[in-house]
């Protein structure tokens, strides 16, 4: 319940902040300066943008399907926000206690694509419709590799509860953590980066790579931003949206980005656990964790969780401003011809490893 009170304002702030950072990074990568006018180094720019969006007229095209057109932006944001319900904030500050949290989260993330399809379809505009079609196409492309790469983690952690998955990657784990799947090297006491899921078994490292690419497709981030494709579809599904409804769409887009990065961090990168391991005579992990339940513990766990997610997002931003957009068929081929078989293989290898070696 209280995670909702935390995530709602956090998402608003995050969208403003990420919008600024994204523009600044894009500008620096392209040898420009980015926003500089509003406030110190342009820090007030997102607020100015928000004010502008609030003032603007929210237009509904004559030919649009009025009801769906108005409902779609709220739908998109609401389903993404609903997915945040199961995300933990710290070790003891859990999300909704759902035994099938991962499944629920993935289902909500899929509904987001449906919402985008509805938004594009209801706009009754050829660019928006093309964007809607591409959103569906991309949806069918990324769902399978994303689900399979998540499945490989679930095989190892044997639970669908995000809180439990996160808890298994640190000193408080209830199960032994074997480094690189080698029985006998129990690193639960060491903690830190060694206990993270990506190092828990060799295939999981590659599974994270698959998950990362699939999550880029899921968030419609460049180079997979086909449904909006500013340069060819003039914004795709949000071509017709203006004013407050456009702000909703932006909010949903950045929330989805955060959602997928947080999911990746919780599944693969140790959740709220510190990356510094306990070395002999140098208990770095203890120093940078605090004990769960105390204020210090909350601070460290939340801090690690969100700073890791932000690092992932920074990498995604770098990728966005580096690679050119893929064609539709290239996205499909990447997902179906390369990612899906790879994810399947990784899933099988993880399964064998778990059954035969760790048994």
């Amino acid at each position: 319940m209280f995670t909702l009170l935390f995530y709602l304002p956090f998402l608003l702030l995050f969208t403003l902040g990420a919008g600024y950072i994204e523009r600044k990074i894009a500008a620096l990568i392209q040898d420009r300066l980015g926003p500089t006018e509003v406030g110190y180094r342009g820090l007030g720019q997102p607020l100015a943008d928000l004010l502008k969006l609030l003032q603007k007229e929210s237009m509904v095209p004559t030919a649009a399907d009025k009801v769906l057109f108005v409902v779609a932006p709220a739908w998109i944001f609401v389903v993404v926000f609903a997915a945040f319900a199961v995300l933990p904030v710290t070790h003891t500050w859990c999300g909704a206690p759902t035994a099938t949290g991962v499944l629920y989260l993935l289902a909500m993330a899929s509904l987001e694509s449906m919402g985008i399809f509805v938004a594009g379809w209801a706009s009754h505009n050829k660019y928006a419709r093309l964007g809607a079609m591409r959103a569906l196409l991309q949806f069918m492309a990324y769902e399978v590799p994303l689900g399979l790469s998540v499945l490989s983690v679930l095989i190892v952690s044997q639970t669908l509860d995000l809180q439990a998955i996160a808890a298994q990657q640190g000193p408080s784990a209830s199960v032994p953590i074997y480094l690189l799947g080698l029985k006998g090297i129990n690193v639960a006491q060491w903690g830190g980066v060694l206990a993270w899921n990506i190092f828990r078994m060799p295939p999981l490292c590659l599974a994270y790579a698959v998950f990362f690419v699939a999550s880029l497709v899921a968030c419609h981030r460049a180079p997979f931003d086909l449904p909006e494709a500013e340069s060819e579809l003039i914004g795709g599904y949000h071509t017709e949206y203006s004013g407050l409804r456009f702000a909703w769409l932006m909010l949903a887009e950045y929330s989805m980005l955060l959602l997928m990065s947080l999911l990746g961090v919780i599944l693969f990168l140790g959740g709220g656990h510190t990356p510094l391991p306990n070395l002999p005579g140098l208990p770095l992990a203890i120093w940078t964790s605090g004990s769960p339940g105390t204020w210090v513990g909350h601070f460290w766990a939340g801090g690690w969780l969100f700073s890791k997610a932000l690092c992932v997002i920074l990498v995604q931003m770098g990728i966005r401003w580096t690679f050119p957009r893929l064609r539709v068929d290239q996205v499909i081929r990447l997902c179906w011809q390369y990612l899906t078989p790879a994810a399947l293989l990784l899933c099988l290898v993880t399964l064998w490893w778990q059954l035969l070696i760790l048994g």
């Binding site: 620096l28 990568i29 040898d31 580096t322």
Partner: protein, 189 residues
């Protein structure tokens, strides 16, 4: 397999010619990595000093930093005798109409009024016998060829270093230089 480096992108090589799928895969990974490196290099350079703060002789002048000129705050220096906006010192103008005739785009409009007696001597000693009821230069049409300033016998028509004179209405680019009021014009007529 001869690897030819691409210009600009290190770590990035031309596609090996017997294309085994695995080679293609490695090649693709290489290009992805190469472009990410390029991105990182630009990001790092942009965080450093901007090139325009370096002396032009510095070796890194063309290497570092954003190229942005933050225009209204910063301007490129223009020559002290820059030839941009036209100016007419109307007191010295003898209204000979040479500038209007030579102008290739016909953007100078002059209306002369004969005076009964010489009005005054110009600064280079010529006698001014005509008054300008109207002397308009439409800078929206002007091509800044400077011909009008070369033919001007009294050198009263000059070009100034002022180049930033955008206006909201096109008609405002038509600059009137004549200083006679309508009453004076009717009186003289």
């Amino acid at each position: 397999m001869v690897a030819t480096p691409y210009i600009g992108i290190k770590n990035c090589y031309a596609m090996p010619s017997p294309q085994h799928p695995f080679q293609v895969f490695l090649y693709n990974l290489g290009t992805l990595w190469g472009s990410l490196r390029l991105t990182w290099q630009h990001l790092r350079k942009s965080l450093g000093p901007r090139s325009r703060n370096l002396p032009m002789t510095a070796a890194a002048y063309f290497e570092v930093g954003p190229a942005t000129l933050q225009y209204p705050h910063e301007r490129l220096p223009v020559p002290a005798r820059g030839r941009y906006q036209l100016h007419n010192a109307i007191d010295d103008c003898i209204v000979c109409d040479k500038c209007a005739q030579v102008c290739p785009v016909d953007c100078i409009e002059i209306e002369a009024i004969k005076a009964p007696a010489p009005i005054r001597k110009t600064s280079n000693g010529m006698t001014k016998r005509l008054a300008a009821a109207r002397f308009d230069i439409d800078l929206a049409k002007c091509c800044f060829c400077g011909l009008c300033t070369t033919v001007c016998p009294t050198q009263c028509l000059t070009m100034t270093p002022e180049y930033d004179y955008s206006v909201f209405d096109w008609a405002d680019h038509k600059i009137p230089f004549a200083i006679m009021t309508p009453e004076e014009v009717t009186k003289r007529k």
